[in-house]
Amino acid sequence: MHLFFKIVFFIFLIIQSVSASESSNWLKTEIDFILKAYKNSSTTSESRFLMIENTINYNFAGAGIAKFVAGKAWAGANKNTKKEYLKLFKRHLALNIASMMQGYSDQKYELINNKYDSKSKVSLIDMEIYNDTGSLIVTWRVKKSKERYYIIDLLVADISLVVTKRSEFNSMLKTVNYDLYKFNKLLKDQNESSFNKIIN
């Protein structure tokens, strides 16, 4: 009986380890794809952003994050407003990440750690980015669904992008009485301003 439990435990460990390396490999491919876009000096800022936006939209759980970030405003909105909000949010997310990448200047990075939390079914992948004066740890939260991976959050210096966005959106939603339709206008204006800063 003891042997049986040992075998089950051993198999469990192997599955965990395979799952961890699989998600790390997937993430590395996607990160390298984005970094390649930054290294290519022949592309314009706009086309570089559009390419990054496609990659981010494909790999992030954009709609799920958008719903979480909207909080209670989500419930009161109609279908078209929600659809418009999702579109605007996905662009907002891409603009945020592209903006963080603006300072990228060929720094080396390494995926140093991958922990799988079987309770939440989320992998936490630590990425160490090296620069001349030290290094920075970025943690990616990755979840598998329908045979593929999605990024559900990004943490820099213990600060979650999703939680910060939720606080920020909640503050602005309060000013429009949690009306998602009115909020979309604010989000659209912000996206336009951010987009202009990125491409210029």
Partner: protein, 259 residues
Amino acid sequence: MPFLKIIIISFLFFTMPIWAKGSDSVKTSSLDFETSNFEDEIYDPFEPVNRVIFSFNNTADKIILEPVAKGYKKLPPPIQTGIGNFINNLKMPLVIVNQLLQKQGKNAVESSGRFVINSTAGLFGLIDVAEKIGLEQKQEDFGQTLATWGVGDGFYVVLPIFGPSNLRDTTGMVLTYTTDPINYYAVSEGEAWVLPVRTATNAIDQRSKIIDEVNALRDNSLDYYTAVKSSYYQNRKAAILNIDDNSQTPLPLISIEFE
């Protein structure tokens, strides 16, 4: 003057539980959306005043601190690293005190080792020799100590020049400035200029490490004030809990089935 300081510190210390109680009463309601227990709202009763100070700080950052930090970034990397190491080493005596106050005996011994090694073999702290032999740098301050003693955050406050804080961390900061042995020695020797120079150098060194991150947040936030407030609280919470790995930070429940 020292008597006045004691009165102010005592007042802040003893009134904090009252403010903390107010802070703890702010909870989020989840309605139909899935969340874990996030507090959407941080207790910020002086928000209008805080926003004015924040706006002033933001302008000061744009016209003074950020350009200076960008200039600092142009220094050769070993010089930047040396300055950063030197400043961090000066903080060590109080880090050790706070580790002891938090009953972190092992960390206090390691930090003492770090301080001795870096102050001698590391040429007055310019070279982080201790890191190379496995003595990792750990930060503790009076704000964290008060938190581990059960003192609540109190209300959120934006301090002129110093930026985001809360009542507990501001008290911690006052304690740091008044009890730091290096500051005390400099003042007693008639070299009080050391204090603002040390503070400014620390601010420039820290700011130079987050130029892109701050710009990304500033350029893309719908409400930059709230984004900074949320970031401050998340970062402090992790520091108080001594979270070394992010598996312990709260996980937002994102519904992937929705994709």
